[in-house]
Every structure is written in structure tokens, then in C-alpha cells.
Amino acid sequence: LDLLTTGWEPTPDFHDRRLAGVARGYFRAAGFWLVVGLFAGLTYSFQFIPGWGEALVPPSPVHSVGRLRMTHSTVMLHGFLISIFLGALHAVCSDTRARRGGAGTAWLGFGVLQVSLLAGVLGVLYGEVQASAFGELPMWADAGLVAGWAIAMGALIASPKREEDPWIGGVFPWLAVAAVAGLALQAGNAVLAFLPLPQDQAGGWAAVIQSGYLHAWMLPLGVAATLYFLRFRLPLPGWSRWWLGLLALVVAATASLTGGELYQVEWPPEALIEPIRVAGTVYFGALGALAAGLGLALRRGVAEKGDARPWNARAMIWFVAGWVAVLCYAFQRVHLLHDEAYLETVRFTDWIAGHHHLLLLSGMGAWAFGVTDELWPELRRCEAWRLPFFADVHVILTLGGAWIMVGTLFTAGWLQSTMAREMVPWSAITEASAGFWLVRVIAGSVVVGAQVLWLINLVATRDRSLPKLREPVELEAEEPEILEGFSEGMPR
């Protein structure tokens, strides 16, 4: 386990330009998918406001509610978040030259992932039959994503030069969990679609996969990218590597036990309920401890190294906001495991959507923006964003909009649940929800607006002195050579 305990040493300041190019590619792809995903989400939610649906979104199969909903979640997960995190991992490898080999494999993984996702999204919009498990992507797109994921992750973790960047050891367990879980879950999804399982058995597996997507794949990947990044930029004390690495194993075990419990149609046998609850509490407790412990580790790192960024730096605001969201998420998940009344409040209501937005937008989305905030100017060889005001406004509008959206969805879920328990007619429940959906759309529009500023900044931030090759080159004037047999002035 020397991988986890090797001391950290500052790395020389140089870049592997080829890998930096891959990182830029991932960030650009993330920007593209962010636009697609937010547009799909906004167009989807518009249709819940009475009278807005027909006015703004004419009926068409390509942008019907169900297909846009699938596009939104798929693109935000596979297109935006995963692209940012993979980009961050490549960028750090580029900085530290921690990876052997060329960028060819990395580009191959990037290409397979992006092409598969694009084809998959087009397939969804044009009514291609989706995977049976969640209906999110066509089967062939799932296969492409599995292949791209395997190539990209394989290239990242297969041959790191640990002697130059030993800290990759602290991240390796997270990456390993994410890589294995990503492959296993996608492959399991494909297998389930083809196996004629009895429905009650298939339901259990589907629930495990659904929850596993978030807990065993996305979360470890996000943690890996964020911690690796933070470790490189903000020196963490050596002891932090130990428990971070061990936590990866805890997550691997307990996410599996708790994952999908909520969505199962039937509860597990009586004897298993309590162990599952205990395991789930350990998992979410560990997640909360990670959030809190990271703060302590950073403080310690500041004291030891004295070169950490100030707490009010923009990237730090993103990271801390993300960890606070994860802490809140872990807290409410523990309630879900132990409190039947709470569980009933949540079931089948807007709370579910709020719960997903809390983790993916307010939590992991904030990490993703924090990583980009630190990395993008550097990747473009700038000292800072070209439009720092836009970057500041981006933080405020995104976090503000996201938390309003989450709060609105939670409140709407509580209201829907209460009305449902009181046997209020369904039409009255949807009517009462309309106001919340309106606020949600407005909050979503604010978030979308913030991303427009971010994208403008993304494009505008580049070192304008870079394209030196384009500067006019003065050549010595030469006397025109007249070839024998050609008359003077004849074009050559």
C-alpha cells in the first residue's frame, strides 16, 4: 500500500501539450453538451406550465416531453459531468506528466465516447428504441459508451508514472471503483435488456444499476477528479491520503448494499432490512465525513504548506458549495433509510427530481465548474478568465438558481405527497404544483443564462499571443527566376 502513503512532492511546472489538448477537447465537449442538456431540460420543463407547452414547443415527436427528458439527463451525465471530470484528470496528467504513452489512446477514448453519445442522443430524439432498463439510450449507444469509457479510463490509470506524481495513488482507488463500476453497470444494463428475466427479479437488478450509476460510478469519478485536482493545486497533508483511499472501499461496499433500495418495488426480507440500513448509514456517514474532512485537510494543508488559495477564491467557493450539497444529500439519504414517514413524503414526487439536482447540479456540477474555473485559463495559457465579471456572476447565478430549483422541487414534493395522502383529486395536485413548476422554470432559466455567460467566457479566454505563426513573416525579396523557354512575365 505504498501507493497510498508515498509522500507528496511538488511537481515541475511543465505540460504535456498533447494531453492538454485532450483536456481542452473534453472541456469543449462539456460546453457543447451543457448547451444541449440545458436546452433540452428547459424545453422539457416549459411544457409543464399550462399554456406554455403549445405556445413555445409545437407538438413534434423530436421534442416531445419524454424524449427531451431522456436527452437532458443523459447529456448532463455522460456529456457534461463525465467530460469535465475526464478532462480534469487528463489536465492533471498533462501538468505532472504522470502518464506514460502518447495521447493517441486518450483521443481514441474521447472520440468513441463523444460519437457514441451524439449518436445515442440523436437516436433518442428520433424514437430509436431505447435500452430496456431505463429507456435512456439505445443499446448500441450503451455499447459505444462502454467501449469509450474502457479506453479512456484504461489509458488514464493503466500506466501512471508514480515516481513523478505519487499522489495518483490516493486517487487510484476512486478511479478504480469508478472504472469498474462504470463498465459493470453499463454492461449489466445491456445484459438485462437481453435476458428474459422474470419481472420481479429484473426489478431488483434494475434498481441496483440505477442507483449504482450515481453512487458507484459518478460519485467516485467526481471525487477522484476533484481530490486529484485539489491535491495538485492545494497541498493536502499526507495523512489525508489514507482515509480517502479507505473511503473508496467503504463506498464500493456500502453503495452496493444501499443502492437502489428505494426504488425497489418490494422491500428486502425482514432480516436484511437492518443490516442494509446500517450499511447505508455507514456509507452516507462516510460521504459526510469526506465532505467535512476535506475542509479540515485543506486547513491543515494551508497551515503546513502555506500556499493554498484563500477561502474566498472562486474555485474554492465552487468546491465548498459542492461539498456542502453532498453533505446535505448524505444527510437526507440517511433519513430516507431510517424514517418511514420521510420515505413516504419522498416517494414518486418532485422530491426525487430535487434529490437528483441536489447531487448532480448543486454538488457534482459545482465541482465540475470549480475544476474548470481553475484549469481552463491555464489550459488556454492565460493567467485568469478574460471576463472575470462573467465568471463571478456565473457562480452567483448558477448556485442561486440551482438551490432555488432544489428547494422548489423539495417543497413541491412535500406538497404533492401531503395532498396525495389526503386523497385530493389528481387534477388538484397538478394544479397546486403549477406554481412550483413556474418557479422551477424561472430558476432553470437563470441557471441557463449563467451558462451562456460561462460559455462566452470559455470561448473568449485564450492567449491572444499564441498564434504567432500567423504574424506576417518578412521574406527576402528574390529576383524572379526566368525559366528557360518561358517568356518574361509568364505565370510560373
Binding site: 431505447q130 438485462l192 419481472q199 426489478g203 431488483g204 437488478w205 422491500w267 397538478t430
Partner: protein, 222 residues
Amino acid sequence: MNALGKALLLGMALVLQGVGWVVLWDGDMARLRKVRDVAEGRVRAGELLWFNLPGVDSGVADRAPLEFFDMVEYDYPTAFARHFDGTTTAGLGAVYREALELGREVYVREGCFHCHTQAVRAGTADVERWGRPTGPGRADVRVAGMPLAGSRRVGPDLGRLAQRYSNDWHAAHLLRPRSLYPDSIMPGYPWLFDEVEDGLEPNRDGLALIVYLQSLGMDDGR
């Protein structure tokens, strides 16, 4: 860390994942007991297979509801003849299965499961509103594929929709939901309909979706 250490670490993660999944896997302790039975020679190993062989449940699928025969013979006979082959008495079983499977695909393709559940949860107010809890048979047991229980209800539960409404009601509702419920927020699905001489009628996808909806919960203790 050397290669052995890395392999051990990876192996531990894999084993823990695997153990977790197997333990959680729908809590079916009966299957674990069956493993013991196989080990002790009381049950053939083949019974450990986790799936039914294709065709085993074909009898269920061929027991079509009356609404299906209404569709074929009275409601949309020309549309059915145009879009499905073999609508003779002898071939109706195969047509019913084909329409059911296509209907489920349309249900998935249009993302109906994002707004409608097919599950009544035990021990909750669900039972007061929708009736007794959904059993292991599930709502759409007649069609192979992953369950579409859903996780959110923007619209009502569809777990026992079968035979509650006429075929025409479903057609009108899918075409223009607000023609039946003025306050409905459900979008219309006009692309599931074709223009004919005297108006609109469900196309192949529309017919299939109605067949699927009319099957939901038919085998759930009714």
C-alpha cells in the same frame, strides 16, 4: 504499489461490489436457499437459471382482453388490417403479442415512465388511492423486458389501467388530453395518429400503445 497490490485492491473492490449486489438483489432469499438445495442434490442445477426460457409465458400474452377484440373488430378494423398482418381469428394471438411488444416500445420511446408509475407501494397512502399493492407479477407482466415501475408521478399511476376506459377514450386522450381533462398538463401525441377520410385514427404505433395500456395490470390479481 506493485502489481500484486494493485490487483488485490481492485479485487477487493470487485468482490465487495459483487457481494453487495448479490445480497441486495431484490432480497430473494429463496434463491439462496435454492443454491443450498442444489448443493444437497434436491434440485437440478438448471433451476438456478435466473430467467424463464422464451415462450414459457406465451400463454399469458395470448389471453387478450376484450378491448383488443373490440379494437380489431369494431373500433379500428381497417386500421388494424392496414397496420398488422394476420388479423384473422387464427392469427390474432400473434398480432396481440406483436402489438403488445410494439406498444411497450412506444411507451418507452415516448418516455411515459418519466411521469407515470406502474407501482402501488405497500404501506403507504398509495393503497388507499390505487388499491392493494402491486405484487411481484408487475403491471406489464405480459411483455418481456425491464419493469417500468417509474420513480415519479407527474400523472397518475397506470399500474391497473387495463379495461378501465374504452379504446376510443384512450385514443382521444392520447391525441388531445385536454379534450377530456381541461386542466391536464399531459402533452398530446398527434404523431400516433394518421389522417383518414373522416378524421384521424391511430396509426400502427398508436394502436399498439392502446393495446399495451389496456393490458396494464390485467394479471395483477384481477
